[in-house]
């Protein structure tokens, strides 16, 4: 069943299992694929579906003694890697196959210098090379992956580098020996979109240069569309579908692939429309159904799905593991189902008219002191949020986007005084929040709630769902015990959780369910404002859309005002009425959600938008690639904070800080802080 005519790596019927406390699980179950020279194979799938284990199996890097390859062959050329002695395998690793890992933060040894870690590869595989030569080679590699001042970096330790830099070092290390195959296991997931774009670019360029084969693992369909030649879709340890990239996106033949493709919000979707979803959650590897593993979520499931589907060839090298692949209806281009109606003004909430601002921030500042010196005096300041202003109308949603560390979370928290802002004013329904006393603040908490990013971290693991949902009522002394019970039950219904969830603990639920609990807790007291701090960033694509739908529904039902924080412009655009883009503690552009997409005026916004990988292999890309990292908020650059990375910078940008202003001057709706906004608007740049 060779798909590729000239494969350099062939994996055949690979079965990898783990011995865990609860029993043996097959994390990879009968997976076959092959890659040929110069080709990029993408492996995509939801968290836990076995992508990493597949990669680790190929590398023979499974954590022993739990993990072991039980069956199958991994052929590198003609050698079966599964049968090599550890010693010979060592010689292949790093030399003929190398790998980049997901977490750039932990993948480098913290106590060895960068130079040493890179040179080690040369030293290992070319033992006869001299020291100076090794040094030169290492330097060369660093230059190649685009690290500025490589001589200095060689002497630094990993913690002194930013995440993007570290990932570059990893890449340099893995490419040092010009491997035949590079396995990249989600190398960009932990990075910002702008950095991700840089890294993807780099990998692509290097691949072209060396002609190596790349196995690219990701859960992001956009990334797949952008860099892969063919795709392997995995689901619960098995291959669901494999196809050349264009074919997969144009004609997916597995219901799961279809579900995935339709559930991602796209910039071309209608805002606030209900997203298509794949209902349910991935089955646990411990309790897999017989037959097709997707059957419980599949809209097309039939009795035959109770038997194991074969890999049905669709065409050439397009195979799908579905009994019904041939009978599936053709894909419609329409990806969404009818928009959710905005609540009619004054209908349910007579007090609030559309013109009322529910939440207003005025020059909000949150500076954290940096202490040091002998007496721990303040020696610096983190300008986490440095004077941002915005207003949100009742019932509307403001989206706040920006790269990691730009102060989104801090802004959200200081808005509701989870940290005490150092300056500015915040008004909730006309009342000043920052001046509130302890008592009043507590009262305020009933009206202003927050949903957190990490659905596991934000739920106390020692409390049952019942405890968690009851807590708001207890804290605010609302209702008797009996009433509370019924209220909690109602909440569960509302967010679509079963009632028997009450006595269970958070980790008995999947991420999506846990996020529902978090949402239920936030809406328990019928708040008026909800701050959503990246509520879907930690979730899988198929779950993400479920939660987005839920949030939209709730907002509509309850007339909630929302601040929606995210680094994902697509999601933000989908859910918001207005969008503010933050960069290094400041808002650089603020307008309504559609305009930002169609007419971005700030170079940063433009770069952000173009860096987003679009799940469409045919899309044009990367006109505005950014270079470098976000500067430290302790020493923000003078003038325009973005000028260090701005492709359009002019001398003025380094001196004068651009003010937020309306562009074009007349339109009130589009504010931007860039000296050259007009030029951009005019299309000159």
């Amino acid at each position: 069943m060779d798909i590729n005519p000239n494969p350099i790596l062939q994996v055949r019927h690979l079965i990898t299992a783990f011995d865990t406390e609860a029993g043996i699980i097959r994390a990879v179950d009968d997976v076959s694929f092959s890659v040929s020279k110069g080709e990029t194979l993408g492996i995509v799938g939801e968290s836990g579906c076995g992508k990493s284990v597949t990669a680790l199996s190929v590398m023979r890097l499974l954590p022993r003694p739990m993990g072991h390859i039980d069956a199958g062959e991994i052929l590198l050329g003609a050698t079966d890697l599964t049968r090599l002695t550890p010693d010979r395998m060592s010689r292949i690793r790093g030399n003929r196959i190398s790998m980049i890992f997901q977490e750039p933060m932990t993948a480098l040894n913290p106590v060895h210098r960068i130079g040493k870690q890179i040179s080690e590869v040369f030293r290992l595989h070319f033992p006869e090379t001299g020291e100076t030569e090794i040094y030169e080679n290492a330097l060369q590699m660093l230059r190649k992956v685009g690290i500025p001042e490589p001589e200095q970096r060689m002497r630094e330790y990993p913690h002194q580098l930013s995440g993007g830099m570290r990932q570059r070092v990893m890449i340099a290390m893995s490419l040092a020996c010009k491997p035949d195959i590079l396995i990249a296991d989600e190398p960009t997931t932990a990075l910002d979109v702008t950095i991700q774009a840089q890294i993807l670019d780099l990998i692509r360029a290097l691949q072209q240069e060396t002609g190596m084969a790349v196995i690219f693992i990701t859960h992001d369909l956009g990334v797949i569309a952008e860099i892969c030649d063919s795709v392997l879709v995995m689901y619960a340890g098995r291959v669901a579908e494999t196809a050349p990239v264009r074919e997969l996106f144009s004609d997916p033949k597995h219901p799961y692939t279809r579900g995935l493709l339709t559930s991602v919000p796209r910039l071309e979707n209608r805002r606030k429309s209900r997203l298509r979803i794949i209902p349910g959650v991935v089955p646990s590897l411990y309790e897999l159904p017989d037959g097709c593993r997707f059957q419980n979520r599949c809209p097309h499931a039939q009795p035959i799905c109770g038997t194991q589907p074969p890999m049905n060839p669709v065409s050439g090298n397009h195979l799908a593991a579905c009994h019904l692949s041939a009978q599936l209806p053709p894909v419609r281009k329409q990806h969404t189902e009818g928009a959710i109606q905005k609540p009619a003004a004054g209908k349910k909430y007579p007090a609030a008219s559309q013109a009322d601002y529910c939440l207003e921030a005025d020059q909000l500042k949150m500076h954290f002191p940096v202490r040091g010196g002998i007496l721990l005096r303040q020696i610096g300041t983190v300008y986490a949020v440095d004077g941002i202003s915005f207003k949100i109308r009742t019932g509307e949603t403001l989206g706040l986007v920006g790269e990691s560390g730009c102060g989104k979370t801090t802004a959200g928290r200081s808005l509701i005084r989870l940290c005490q802002p150092t300056g500015g004013r915040v008004k909730f329904e006309g009342r000043d929040i920052l001046g509130l006393g302890r008592r009043a603040l507590r009262e305020l908490r009933r009206d202003v709630q927050m949903i957190f990013q990490d659905p596991f971290e934000s739920l106390n693991p020692r409390h049952t769902i019942g405890d968690i949902l009851e807590e708001p009522f207890i804290i605010h002394g609302i209702s008797t015990t009996g009433e509370r019970r019924s209220k909690v039950a109602a909440l569960l219904d509302r967010v679509g959780l079963p009632r028997n969830a009450l006595p269970r603990f958070p980790h008995e639920f999947s991420g999506g369910q846990r996020q529902r609990i978090g949402i239920a807790r936030a809406i328990a007291l019928n708040p008026r404002v909800i701050i959503c701090d990246e509520p879907v960033s930690a979730l899988d694509v198929s779950i993400q859309s479920q939660i987005i739908n839920l949030l939209l529904e709730l907002q509509q039902e309850m007339g909630l005002t929302c601040l929606f924080i995210s680094h994902d412009l697509t999601v933000v655009r989908h859910i918001s009425d207005h969008i503010a883009v933050m960069y290094l503690g400041k808002i650089v552009e603020h307008t309504d959600a559609d305009t930002i997409h169609t007419m971005p005026l700030h170079p940063y916004t433009r770069a952000l938008l173009s860096a987003i990988p679009v799940p469409d292999p045919d899309a044009a890309r990367n006109a505005h690639l950014l270079s470098g990292d976000v500067p430290s908020p302790i020493h923000p650059p003078a003038g325009c904070r973005f000028h260090t990375r701005c492709p359009l910078r002019i001398p003025r940008c380094a001196q004068e800080e651009p003010l937020l202003r309306s562009v074009p001057a007349s339109a009130d709706a589009h504010i931007v802080a860039c000296h050259r906004a007009e030029e951009i608007l005019s299309g000159a740049l």
């Binding site: 030399n95 913290p110 106590v111 590869v121 595989h125 290390m173 040091g372 007496l375």
Partner: protein, 340 residues
């Protein structure tokens, strides 16, 4: 970083003052100080010698005036804080005072004991590190193997028995019953008459049992610290990275995981310094070794305030310096730490 250490050193001051003030004040409330001993002595003499004085004259052995003079002699005549300040002043000038029992300078007494404590301490440390680190490594790599289980049991037995109890047991068995080792002391009585080699052998024979008692408990902590951190480190991402570069597992462990695992061990290093010098009076008592521990213990029993305070000054300073040293050690092995 330097500011951090300077701050740490500055913070020693309030702590040091706090400790010494507390103890200084306590000394004033303990019965049985030098004056009380003199009174007791006087009373004893009185009973023994009888007295012919008429009843009116005096029924108590010493007059208030005499006691007053004694108080002056021992410096108890001033209010606690005043004498504390005087004492502290002397300490700052490097004078720890004079023992109220031996009338030797306290510093001389301490100095005499320090080499003995150091001798055992350094040996103990070498032995502990020398055994625990390799053992910890072996156990980490062979987790849950027969070797691991067996060595755990052995090491736990050592941990469960307090050092001095083990000392008693060893003394009973090896010294009293089988007469393999001497019954205590640091050297034999005829030490001076021996040749160099014999001296070494003699010292060795005297060292074995107390040293064993000293280290028996610390093995466990150290071994498991080593084992656990090494296991954590082996499971960490960067070891996987190292192997993916082509290192063998062995080299990855020794070249990468090990150094990171030494960080917590380095943290314990500073603490050990103070432990070394402080000794353990229980063990020293059992083996009749004149170390710092015994000095402190005896001075407490004998109410030798200057010595108590002197040992306290030394040991608390060492402890605090040891803590800072720990930090420095950590800063040396771990480039990530940024003390602020």
């Amino acid at each position: 970083m330097i500011a951090y250490f300077i701050r740490r050193i500055l913070l020693i001051i309030p702590t040091f003052i706090g400790i010494t003030v507390m103890v200084f004040v306590i000394t004033r409330f303990v019965p049985g100080g030098p004056i009380e001993r003199i009174i007791a002595q006087a009373r004893q003499m009185k009973t023994m010698q009888g007295s012919t004085l008429s009843p009116e004259e005096q029924s108590q052995p010493l007059s208030g005036e005499q006691i007053g003079e004694l108080r002056k002699y021992y410096g108890f005549d001033k209010p606690v804080l005043v004498s504390y300040v005087l004492w502290l002043g002397k300490v700052l000038r490097g004078d720890l005072g004079t023992s109220t029992r031996y009338y030797d300078p306290v510093w001389a007494m301490i100095r005499e004991r320090i080499p003995i404590s150091l001798y055992f301490g350094i040996l103990a440390m070498l032995l502990t590190y020398g055994i625990c680190i390799p053992l910890g490594i072996a156990k980490a790599v062979r987790h849950k193997s027969g070797f691991d289980n067996l060595s755990s049991i052995v090491v736990f037995i050592g941990y469960a028995i307090p050092g001095w109890v083990a000392g008693v047991l060893m003394l009973i068995l090896f010294a009293s019953h089988w007469e393999l080792f001497p019954l205590g002391g640091l050297v034999g009585d005829d030490f001076e008459d021996l040749t160099r080699i014999q001296q070494g052998a003699d010292l060795f024979r005297h060292t074995v049992l107390p040293l064993a008692a000293y280290v028996i408990g610390s093995f466990t902590v150290m071994t498991f610290l080593m084992k656990n951190t090494l296991m954590d480190n082996i499971a960490s991402d960067y070891v996987r990275t190292a192997i993916s570069k082509g290192l063998s597992f062995r080299r990855a462990v020794f070249g990468h995981a090990l150094r990171n695992s030494l960080i917590p061990i380095a943290t314990s290093f500073g603490n050990n310094i103070s432990v070394i010098v402080a000794g353990s009076f229980l063990i020293e008592k059992v083996f009749n070794i004149d170390g710092m521990g015994l000095l402190g213990y005896e001075s407490v029993l004998e109410r030798d305030y200057p010595v108590i305070l002197g040992t306290l000054v030394i040991s608390s300073l060492l402890l605090m310096i040891g803590n800072i040293l720990s930090d420095i050690c950590v800063a040396i092995v771990d480039p990530r730490v940024q003390f602020k």
